[in-house]
Symmetry: C2
Subunit: 139 residues, 2 copies
Amino acid sequence: MIDQIVRDFLTRQTAGVLATTRSGGGVRQSVVYFALDGDRLLISTEPGRAKTKDVTRTGRASLCVMGGAPPYPSVTLEGPARIRTTGIGADTAELWSRMGGRPVEPMSDADLAAMNRVILEITIERVYGASYLDQGETT
Amino acid sequence: MIDQIVRDFLTRQTAGVLATTRSGGGVRQSVVYFALDGDRLLISTEPGRAKTKDVTRTGRASLCVMGGAPPYPSVTLEGPARIRTTGIGADTAELWSRMGGRPVEPMSDADLAAMNRVILEITIERVYGASYLDQGETT
């Protein structure tokens, strides 16, 4: 479902704009680091964040990933989303490795809980708005 | 209401992620070029676009603006939004000037209508999530 050109773009990019729906119905947007793993998007966040509560309540999220320079290559991905607190060591390490540019050792769920980290996971159900993805731009 | 540091960042950046709410309640996101004019965000789009229909229906929109490199400076702005088809020559010219990096002469509403252009205007009511805006990054 995810074209290779989209997959390659998502591998080159490390951050995107997450959108969730507020309890009042409005849209909340914020910048997040992400990792693509198969058909899942992984984001590391905190239990108390508004985006976490939105996902717990609505069960959905959207991520728009945009390159940093004209013509601004971009694509939007969305689908069912959930907050995970167990078995998150490998996914969190993968995210932190991407953010830091060097390998990070997986931590235990207990250590991550003590650090107030959870994984916001989106199962990609829909991909749209892919534009200029063949520009080969990197961040 | 808009801090000078936010204003300066929005002047340096030319594109952001627009979010609107679909008729079914989900979030729609896409990359747009924008211009800040006082407390308004201006976006040039087409009448038939889904984002245009969303704004006509809901009267609201959100824009998250993100720098192109780590630590990804960003801010989100939102508020009432509307679609304008008259008196849009100057705003459209300002947008195109920013996109192209050189002055563009204003066109008439009739010419812009023939080119299928409208202005999506957001009146900034809320600014949140401002992060790393003092990094001085440019796109």
